[in-house]
Amino acid sequence: MIRRLLLWLPFALGAVLFAAFWAGLHHPDDHVIASKMVGQALPDFETRTAMQGQGAPRAAQFHGGKPRLLNVFASWCVPCAQEGQMLMRLKAAGAQIDGVAVHDTQADLARFLAENGNPYASVGLDIDGRAQMALGSTGVPETFVVDGQGRIVHQQIGAVTEADMPTLLAKLGIRP
């Protein structure tokens, strides 16, 4: 009896393999690596001043009691330009948005903000992706919601679209 069961063991292992593949096909690798910093305190990050008369964002300013958005973007990124008008609408609704421009230059950024609007309360240049890595961000654009106590509560991967607006507004505590 044991011997007969043993002979079916390869078949059983094959079935397990099949189940694993089946599951894998229905949960294909989504290629999205979410930041593990969500739920944790916003880490200290350094950026360089990008625009005259506009400060570079720093972690301290996220402790003001009101939730804010931290937008990771770049002037060379096409979806970031499309995202611009959504950010402008968020700003109009009363959101405070701070920007971190990854691998960017002052000149390119100035041109980009002149063309697409400047929704940022403060904006800084992230040289060498240091701020991006500190945030656990894998690409541009990404938007983090930071609550009034300096804790990251939400990460939006990819451009902000119409569909994301209610979530972001709710996280910011703004009634539409």
Partner: protein, 646 residues
């Protein structure tokens, strides 16, 4: 018209496969003996038709017929001819058609040349082979028609530039030939199970197929590793990437099978295990195809992926492998167990070799699939890579190599430990000498490369030992083949150990006129220029290289920018010397005049692929020896009882 002709040929080939299966079933179950002789011609016609279909596909690619969807999606009229033709199998549909074409040809070869199996086993084998083919025909005709038409397309979308490489043009056909060869072994196993005929005859009939498939897999893996080494531009030659693992797993199973089948052929032992391994080896080939084609895993090498089709391949996998494993469970109980073996004997060494190879296979399979399973069940994402595989499979591989030196020195049936030690004196002495030499050489080597080098010395001398005190001209070819393949293992391991122990790396940012050192070489950047290529533009760095006391020479790495599709690739400049390779890459531009240059001096790295080639060549020699003996044996077969006497 060519496309339609190809499609028609494919349908007809599928019909022939169906006929082949029906004939086989009728002949075996209804006892219609006269049908047995009909199955071979049908197999030949099927092979001919599918070859015509594949020829038609190559023709539409060669003519850049953009009215065929597959050509438009994967080719470009400006591509060099070699890549137009190679484009025929550099995509999903084409590669599946190639798969089934090789399958058809393999079936025809069995039908024509296999004479020593019992006839009913042969018929069952051919029916099983047609069964596999039928699934792939269905897949092609219903889910991925390579000849589908499209209208209104003027120009194709091009081929991934990484794939535009002469080595890679022949890489998939090589691997597929290996996979399909394993399908022949699988069909033999199924045929043997169906007709309850598992014995030395069956093992001898199956052995050339395993050897052939194994040679192709060895070449495929070796070539694929060299391809990654020179195209990716970072000096690495093995990444434990899912696609690499997918090609390694069938190889591990085939290597185990190769050794177990010789126990079955010589000593009539390991009957059930050999059957199990043939099913496993083909399963791993199918799993390999599935992993690469379904896009289920992220990889450096997944160029053509499609999850929908993954389900189809998975279904085929389930039917064939599930069916074979069920057949195994039902039938193997009636196959009497073969001979037992003693602890100190050639058989025992081969059994331990099989055990170690199988455990390594299990490790590779677990490491490749577990992240997928974990993410599917808990959503947690982890990565399993080189550190895991090196730590788990590494020690087992070292143990296996020690065994590899000892195994061929053992006698069949039973041997004495003291005699083995005496015979191992030479190899062990070589190992001690290697250790001493490394100690005298100084420098710090970490444990793995050190063990690798010592074991390589042991194996190198040990592999030659079977020739000791033998008349070399009377030594059979397959013994030479074994010696060569085992020597190849020693050489490849030595290359891997040298690469990780002695490689010198220097990454620098230099302006024209500046010089930096890597190993014994001084490299001077002379300038960077733009050069046009056939379908790309390149920035080419001119590097003047010299060693103390020698004349300088020039090396020209390129940074290539392709437009169709847009992509940047590093084209490394690699110069090979007797004692290693100098590997130079130009990266992006730094501030001002400075350029980022990556330099590696890799002593003895070429031994890795030389060893791989030697392993394959040893296999080829063995195959030649076996086939020659078979042919000679058949000539004398007319005399009744001649084979028994031999």
């Amino acid at each position: 018209m060519i496309a339609e002709a190809g499609l028609a040929a494919l349908w007809l080939a599928a019909a022939m496969a169906l006929l082949q299966v029906s004939l086989g079933v009728l002949a075996l179950t209804r006892g219609r003996h006269q049908l047995r002789s009909a199955i071979a011609p049908v197999t030949l016609v099927q092979a001919l038709l599918v070859t015509i279909a594949f020829g038609c596909l190559i023709a539409v690619f060669a003519r850049s017929d953009m009215s065929v969807l597959l050509v438009a999606a994967n080719s470009h009229s400006a591509k060099p001819m070699l890549y137009k033709v190679a484009g025929a199998w550099g995509n999903h549909e084409g590669s599946m058609l190639l798969w089934v074409t090789i399958l058809g040809i393999a079936g025809a070869t069995i039908a024509m040349f296999e004479r020593r199996l019992r006839e009913d086993t042969r018929v069952a084998t051919l029916a099983a082979q047609a069964c596999i083919a039928l699934g792939f025909y269905a897949f092609l005709l219903f889910a991925s028609n390579p000849f589908a038409r499209i209208t209104g397309v003027e120009e194709g979308q091009g081929l991934n530039p990484l794939l535009q490489d002469p080595g890679l043009a022949f890489h998939p056909p090589t691997l597929y030939a290996g996979y399909v060869g394993m399908s022949a072994a699988f069909s033999f196993a199924v045929g043997a199970l169906v007709t309850r005929n598992v014995g030395p005859d069956f093992a001898r009939a199956m052995r050339p197929w395993i050897l052939g498939a194994w040679i192709f897999l060895t070449i495929g893996i070796t070539a694929g590793s060299y391809w990654a080494y020179y195209t990716l531009g970072w000096g690495g030659w093995w990444f434990w990437d899912p696609v690499e693992n997918a090609s390694l797993m069938p190889w591990l199973a085939a290597t185990a099978l190769l050794h177990s089948v010789s126990v079955l052929a010589t000593r009539d032992g390991l009957r059930a295990w050999t059957i199990m391994l043939s099913v496993l080896a083909f399963s791993m080939s199918m799993v390999g195809t599935f992993l690469v084609r379904s896009g289920i895993l992220t990889s450096v090498h997944s160029f053509a992926v499609d999850p929908e089709r993954g389900i189809f391949i998975l279904a085929l996998l389930a039917i064939y492998i599930g069916g074979a494993l069920a057949l195994f469970a039902l039938r193997i109980g009636t196959v009497t167990e073969g001979n037992r073996f003693e602890l100190v004997s050639r058989e025992a060494a081969l059994v331990i070799n099989n055990l170690l190879l199988t455990v390594i296979l299990v490790i590779v399979l677990a490491g490749t699939l577990y992240p997928l399973v974990l993410e599917g069940t808990t959503g947690e994402k982890i990565s399993v890579g080189a550190p895991y595989f090196n730590a788990t499979a590494g020690p087992l591989a070292i143990a296996m190599l020690v065994l590899l030196a000892a195994g061929p020195l053992l006698r069949w049936r039973s041997d004495r430990p003291r005699l083995l030690l005496e015979r191992m004196a030479g190899p062990l002495f070589a190992g001690a000498a290697a250790l001493l030499a490394l100690a005298l050489l100084g420098g710090s080597i970490s444990v793995f490369p050190l063990l690798g080098l010592i074991v390589a010395a042991v194996v190198a001398v040990g592999s030659l030992a079977p020739l000791w005190k033998r008349k070399l001209d009377r030594t059979p070819l397959f013994t030479w083949g074994m010696v060569m393949a085992h020597m190849g293992c020693a050489i490849a391991i030595a290359g891997m150990a040298c690469d990780s122990a002695f490689t010198k790396e220097n990454m620098v940012a230099i302006a024209p006129g500046e010089t930096r050192e890597v190993g014994p070489w001084s490299v001077t950047l002379t300038g960077v220029h733009q050069v046009p290529g056939p379908n790309y533009t390149a920035l080419e760095a001119t590097l003047s290289v010299r060693k103390e006391g020698s004349t300088p020479f020039t090396m020209l790495p390129q940074l290539r920018q392709f437009t169709d599709p847009p992509m940047q690739t590093n084209h490394a400049a690699i110069d090979t010397f007797w004692n290693g390779q100098l590997y130079l890459v130009v990266g992006e531009q730094g501030d001002g005049e400075r350029w980022l240059i990556r330099m590696w001096w890799k002593p003895w790295v070429t031994l890795i692929w030389l060893g791989g080639a030697l392993i394959a060549a040893g296999g080829a020699l063995s195959l030649l020896g076996r086939v020659r003996r078979d042919v000679l044996g058949q000539r004398t077969q007319w005399r009744p009882g001649a084979r028994k006497a031999a």
